[in-house]
């Protein structure tokens, strides 16, 4: 008869009726060669570790003598297939003479107790062998997200403290692998100090790096050169702060490219130096966008919407965002303003912001004003409605100051469209 058990079943087997504390010779556990750490370091798989519990074999031999076997080798144990998972490396047999002439289970325990120093396996252990392998798990060599490394990486933790959204940064091409090689103190700190000195402060710093993490890969000297270029072009410090915080990618453009784009813009619309500065300060994305978008919008404004060449300059100086508007939206807005609201080019020139508002908002408000007979956009007549304000203000102010009706009426009107 051979009985193979793990600790739990062995305990049940030995103390079936009495609540005796089961004790085993200490040398079973503290045998130097059975070093659990050594075993785990060679085989680090979690699954194995979990299943690696020492197996005990209680054997009655041919001569009807019981022996307790604790083994490491599969061959020693000759286990059935289900039990043949993960065993310690050493085999150790409790000598048969200890267990000689034993008939009752209680007697086994007594004999074992007598044989030397003991430990209590149900008591808490100073050194639980299972915890050690979990203390330092190896890092994954390949991952889809920076979250896998955040617990080990001091740099990433610092960035999160700053307010950088790593879930967005990790989607930028080439950035996450470079970021992992960096050290916060060595590579990142001086760039953040530089950005702070330019005027990006507090929570904005995190947002800035979230939008443009490539700034961390740049050289500080390059960044300084780009800011110095702006200063040499007589941009004030406030203007530079506005430019950098409104278009985080501005500083990623080389001095040559920025210079070329500013020159192009100046030539295209015959702007003066001060006008270029005000336009760029109000819409710095004119530099970071593709030139083709600007070219296309200029073409549309001139050829399709019929603005004169001189008018283009006033339009852009008043509302630089127009050059970045989507093609179809720009045409759709103009179509509604010119054909439905009957507003000529000359009035539009005074309020170019209306070309940059949302079409549905303009439609709703114009139709409401028309239904109450207030759709008068001619500034020469009394009680006219300023186009400039028409779409900029929120609904409550619109109802109160322009339509002069309760907001409920306006909401009810919106449900009849």
């Amino acid at each position: 008869m051979a009985l193979i058990t793990n600790w739990a079943t062995l305990r049940g087997f030995l103390s079936f009726s009495t609540s005796v504390c089961i004790k085993f010779p200490r040398n079973i556990f503290n045998h130097q060669n059975i070093s659990t750490t050594g075993r785990f370091s060679t085989k680090p798989s979690d699954m194995e570790l979990w299943q690696n519990k020492p197996k005990v074999k209680l054997v009655a031999n041919r001569h009807r003598k019981l022996s307790l076997e604790w083994s490491n080798h599969l061959e020693d144990m000759q286990l059935s297939k289900e039990d043949r998972i993960g065993l310690p490396q050493r085999s150790l047999v409790v000598s048969a003479d200890v267990l000689e002439n034993v008939s009752k289970k209680e007697d086994i325990l007594d004999k074992v107790e007598e044989s030397g120093p003991e430990i209590d396996i149900l008591a808490e252990m100073d050194e639980p062998p299972v915890l050690e392998p979990y203390a330092q798990l190896p890092l994954p060599s390949y991952t889809y997200t920076l979250a896998s490394y955040i617990e080990q990486s001091h740099t990433l933790q610092k960035l999160v403290e700053l307010g950088v959204d790593l879930s967005k940064v990790e989607k930028k091409q080439g950035v996450p692998s470079e970021l992992l090689k960096m050290d916060f103190e060595r590579d990142i700190k001086d760039k953040l100090f530089f950005l702070n000195s330019v005027g990006v402060e507090g929570e904005e710093l995190g947002n800035f790096v979230t939008k443009n993490p490539h700034i961390l890969l740049e050289d500080v000297q390059n960044l300084e050169a780009r800011v110095n270029y702006l200063k040499s072009k007589k941009f004030t410090d406030e203007a530079i702060t506005k430019i950098v915080s409104r278009a985080p990618y501005f500083l990623s453009f080389s001095v040559i490219r920025v210079d070329r784009k500013l020159g192009y813009l100046q030539q295209l619309l015959h702007l003066k130096g001060s006008e270029v500065r005000s336009v760029i300060t109000r819409e710095p994305r004119l530099v970071t966008f593709k030139v083709s978008r600007i070219q296309e919008n200029i073409f549309i404004l001139r050829e399709q919407l019929g603005f004169q060449k001189e008018d283009l300059k006033t339009l852009v100086v008043k509302e630089p965002k127009l050059l970045l508007r989507g093609k179809n939206r720009l045409i759709g807005m103009f179509d509604y303003i010119y054909n439905v609201m009957d507003i000529p080019h000359s009035v539009m020139l005074h309020a170019p912001h209306v070309l940059h508002s949302r079409l549905h908002k303009l439609q709703e408000r114009h139709q409401f004003l028309k239904s109450i007979g207030r759709d008068n956009y001619d500034p020469t007549q009394p009680g006219y409605v300023s186009l400039e304000r028409l779409t900029r203000i929120p609904d409550s102010v619109f109802c109160e100051e322009i339509a002069k009706t309760p907001a409920e009426d306006y909401n009810a009107f919106l449900k009849t469209l």
Binding site: D126, E127, Y134, L146, D165, L166, S167, L417
Partner: protein, 353 residues
């Protein structure tokens, strides 16, 4: 004056702020379960409306405070037992930096949203019912119930277009001086008779699923539940002229299984029957089954708070047993009858005793 206004604004703001900070993310997400209606504007496809509502909801959900911080068990050297045993370890529970919002990203990335209302297209506007999360399962169930919807259709006399829409290419022009409101109403009732009344009996015979000469059919009809179900052709139930100012007119149409383009064709037919031409200016749905105009949210209300409120008011609308498939409706009605009659009998018995 200004002080009063700012005070009112402050009060309004405080109410809004109160409602958003009160609920945490998962509580708000739990409430987004069921049905609500939006007012679909013109020039937006129904699918786009659903997508926009979904993105607005996800944006607002992720802006809410997270209710609890996830924690992980980490194994660290045991400080207390360090002298006694230098390699002593202990397990402690610490807040997990991996599940920080900035590391993990927004918590809610997907939301199941379905369109209940049928019949809308790009140019139509009006009530459009949407289903959220578990409600999506019931969309087919609702559409099988074939509840009537009501439209107001604006038309203009005098010309006809290819697409029967005012923006289409004009193919024909005609005079409309001879048209009066009684004439229009006559045509409408005639159209209805052709389309509906004559057919209704045979229509129900074919599509209601009960024998039209049975007691069962009578019981259903008495409760207004005798209606076609299943895969049926379009059916106009009622048409009446609500406004007539030539060349413009406005008719109210109650119909089943319609599409906006079908109604535009009806307007075109009305023009032809009037010995003139007509095009459709606007198709506007004012009721879809139980969802009415007052339940629908306009575009600026496509936010978390109004939608949670709307879901709460609209969920009971879908619970009425009118939504059951017809077979189950019949069973419900008959069992109700049985219960009623038994109740009466019991009451009579008690009275006799």
């Amino acid at each position: 004056m200004i002080g009063v206004r700012t005070l009112v604004q402050l009060q309004n703001m405080s109410i809004v702020r109160k409602s958003t900070t009160k609920i945490v993310q998962h509580a708000a997400f739990e409430r987004l379960n069921g049905y609500f209606a939006v007012y679909k504007p013109q020039d937006v496809l129904p699918r786009q409306v659903a997508t926009r509502v979904k993105h607005a909801l996800l944006r607002d959900l992720n802006a809410l405070p997270e209710g609890y911080q996830e924690s992980v068990v980490s194994i660290v050297p045991d400080e207390a037992r360090l002298e006694h045993n230098p390699s002593a370890l202990t397990a402690v529970s610490v807040p997990s930096i991996r599940s920080h919002r900035l590391v993990r990203g927004p918590r809610y990335k997907h939301l199941k949203i379905g369109i209940i209302t049928e019949g809308h297209d790009l140019k139509s506007s009006g009530v459009m019912a949407l289903a959220l999360r578990d409600g999506v399962k019931k969309v087919e169930f609702y559409q099988e119930a074939r509840l009537p919807s009501i439209y107001t259709v604006h038309g203009r006399l005098g010309f006809a277009t290819f697409s029967h829409d005012i923006e289409g290419k004009i193919v024909e022009k005609s005079t409309y001086d001879h048209i009066t409101k009684p004439r229009l109403e006559k045509v409408l009732s005639g159209l209805l008779r052709i389309e509906c009344i004559v057919d209704l009996f045979s229509f129900l015979h074919r599509h209601s699923g009960v024998n039209i000469r049975s007691q069962e059919a009578y019981e259903l009809a008495a409760r207004g539940l005798l209606q076609p179900s299943g895969d049926i052709p379009t059916l106009l139930l009622d048409m009446r002229c609500s406004r007539f100012e030539p060349p413009d007119f406005e008719i109210e149409i109650q119909c089943l299984r319609e599409s906006a383009q079908y109604l535009r064709r009806v307007v075109n037919n009305i023009g032809l029957f009037l010995k003139s031409n007509a095009v459709c200016i606007k198709v506007r749905k004012i009721q879809d089954g139980p969802f009415k105009l007052e339940h629908s949210l306009i575009r600026k209300d496509w936010r978390l708070d109004p939608i949670i409120e709307a879901v709460r008011t609209c969920n009971p609308l879908m619970k009425t047993f009118n939504l059951l498939p017809l077979e189950l409706q019949k069973d419900a009605v008959l069992s109700q009858n049985l219960v009623d009659s038994n109740l009466f009998r019991e009451i009579e018995d008690i009275e006799e005793v």
